[in-house]
């Protein structure tokens, strides 16, 4: 961020925080939308919002190293990502792309180097964003995944209780009963789209519970999350209309403000605090007034819904795709259901539902023989680290009893390591336990449709046919 825009941004945050007590949050966001629209008319945009139109991606071996651009949001969809990242790992493990639609950036693609960058928060900052591109101008929300210590530590510790052992144990029965409900309602011997009926449904229900969000409105959480993670300017996603992002953020702010105020009122009336996220934020000295800092308030709630949405959803779908490609593994699983916990780690490695996290160098850093300059963007490609031949044997294979599956990078490492990792594993373990009890065959009957993004590695359609077990 240039000094001038940083100053403008600071003024903007200050004004928003100062007026938040008198102006409802969703109105402030609407105001920002108008302000940004006017600013763009007057001064133009800082960088044109990229428009992505899909075209065939060339074979990586026809390109010069400097022309390799792994920010292309169709790389995953066209199944070119493995060849692209393999070439980078082998020939330029710390690679500079000068002129991507998202601006210049470094790619770090080997397991060991990614581990180094992820650990060294003293050298690489997670601020102000962890996605490659920029969010819509004016909608630069603040979340602890994109904060450095010590501020990060304070905010994270205020919410991590929601996934603490005590809560997980209470959640296990609930997750199982919901999983059973969803699986028992599925059609048999007839193809259906697994993504909305299972993956989105189960993760949507989980999010509503964690936030104590009105259950019948839970689809909104999924929609907001998809919208925020799918911005073209940020991740090359399908949403190029920045105005609609403001609308989604305003809608979200309105709902969450209401939820926050309701809880505050119930608490003031003597009701005991729940174990949902908002109650936890309200119970903590450092975050109890978060609602007066709207950009942080929206940011942290966005983080928690995005964190629990695309990730688990696409691992729930990805496991089936992996089984389709490696059918002998399903036989292995049926013979040895005790492999489920290790298989869950292997699914998360194989799928890597979020491809990367971004950092900014805080000083010049030597890595892999190159010098990353202070201020440069650095992308840690977990999707590549998880397929690094130097770390994993036959890394492209899906092997449910892989010895070191747990060493995968999908949760990240260091202070930003995924907070919901154990909850995600629990959801996936229960899903597979209940699937094995019910179904003899789980067939993927068509090529899945993949999401447009350089960040989310996910499925929009996965047609599946289920055959029940004879004895059920």
């Amino acid at each position: 961020m240039s000094t001038i825009s940083k100053t403008l941004y600071d003024i903007q945050s200050h004004v928003i925080n100062a007026t938040s007590k008198i102006v409802p949050m969703h109105r402030q966001i609407h105001g920002l939308k108008l302000l940004m629209g006017a600013k763009k008319k007057a001064f133009g945009t800082r960088r044109p919002v990229p428009e992505f139109v899909e075209s065939a991606i060339p074979d990586v071996n026809t390109l010069a190293l400097e022309d390799i651009d792994v920010s292309n949001p169709f790389l995953y969809r066209q199944d070119q990502w493995r060849a692209y990242f393999k070439r980078l790992r082998d020939e330029a493990p710390v690679h500079y792309q000068k002129k991507s639609p998202f601006g210049p950036f470094w790619s770090v693609t080997r397991y060991e180097d990614i581990m180094f960058v992820d650990k060294r928060h003293d050298l690489f900052s997670a601020e102000p964003q962890i996605i490659l591109g920029d969010p819509p101008e004016g909608l630069s929300v603040e979340m602890f995944i994109a904060m450095d210590p010590p501020k990060h530590d304070v905010q994270r510790s205020s919410v991590q209780g929601v996934v603490a052992p005590k809560n997980l144990k209470e959640l296990e029965d609930l997750i199982r009963s919901r999983t059973k409900d969803v699986l028992d309602s599925l059609p048999l011997e007839k193809p259906f789209n697994w993504v909305p009926m299972v993956s989105k449904e189960l993760t949507g229900r989980m999010l509503a519970t964690l936030l104590d969000f009105p259950y019948e409105e839970r689809h909104k959480l999924v929609e907001w999350s998809d919208r925020m993670a799918g911005a073209a300017s940020a991740t090359g996603g399908e949403f190029a209309d920045e105005g609609s992002m403001f609308d989604a953020a305003a809608d979200m702010a309105r709902s969450f403000s209401k939820l926050w105020r309701d809880k505050e009122a119930r608490r003031a009336a003597g009701e005991e605090a729940g174990f949902d996220l908002i109650s936890l934020l309200q119970s903590n000295e450092d975050t109890k007034d978060l609602i007066n800092r709207p950009m942080e308030f929206i940011g942290n709630l966005t983080l928690l819904i995005v964190g629990g949405n695309d990730t688990t959803r696409n691992s729930m779908s990805g496991g089936l795709v992996a089984m389709k490609k490696f059918p002998q593994e399903f036989k292995k699983l049926k013979a040895k259901p005790e492999l489920i916990p290790n298989m869950v780690s292997e699914i998360i490695r194989w799928q890597t539902p979020l491809a990367y996290m971004r950092r900014i160098a805080k000083q010049d850093v030597e890595l892999g023989g190159d010098t990353i300059k202070k201020g440069d963007r650095v992308v840690m490609w977990y999707a590549s680290g998880n397929r690094d031949e130097r770390k994993f044997e036959n890394p492209d294979d899906f092997v449910i009893d892989r010895r070191d599956a747990r060493n995968h990078m999908s949760f990240g490492y260091g202070v930003h390591r995924c907070m919901g990792n154990r909850l995600a594993e629990l959801q996936l373990r229960i899903l597979w336990e209940e699937l094995l009890k019910r179904f003899d065959k789980i067939e993927v009957v068509a090529e899945p449709e993949l999401v447009q993004s350089n960040f989310v590695r996910g499925y929009s359609e996965l047609m599946v046919k289920l055959s029940p077990k004879n004895d059920s």
Partner: protein, 106 residues
């Protein structure tokens, strides 16, 4: 050589032998002790080898550095004698040590 007793959350005890110089995480993993994951392989980067040292042994295990302290602060089950197993290097002075395992590794 020495002995370490790992005590699971349900009080199941596992005694393992160690050689001077290996980490508590490595000893646990080599002996297939349940309740220690060690996802990052000993890099002090995941917090999944969290152990709680018996009070009387704590002073023998050294002091966590800043990096370890930061990872420990992320676990909700943090106790006053918490350490990351990968950062505790077994010495002869630790022969007979008792180490408690948390209910979950986060």
């Amino acid at each position: 050589m020495g002995k370490v007793t790992f005590i699971e959350h349900d009080q199941t005890k596992h005694v393992a032998e160690f050689k001077h110089g290996s980490s508590l995480m490595q000893i646990a993993v080599d002996n297939a002790i349940p309740g220690i994951d060690g996802d990052c392989g000993g890099e002090c980067a995941c917090g999944t080898c969290h152990v709680i040292i018996a009070d009387e042994w704590f002073s023998k295990t050294g002091v966590p550095n800043e990096e370890e302290e930061q990872m420990l602060s992320m676990t909700p089950e943090r106790a006053s004698t918490s350490r990351l197993g990968c950062q505790v290097i077994a010495t002869d002075a630790m022969d007979g040590i008792f180490v408690y395992l948390p209910e979950f590794q986060m």
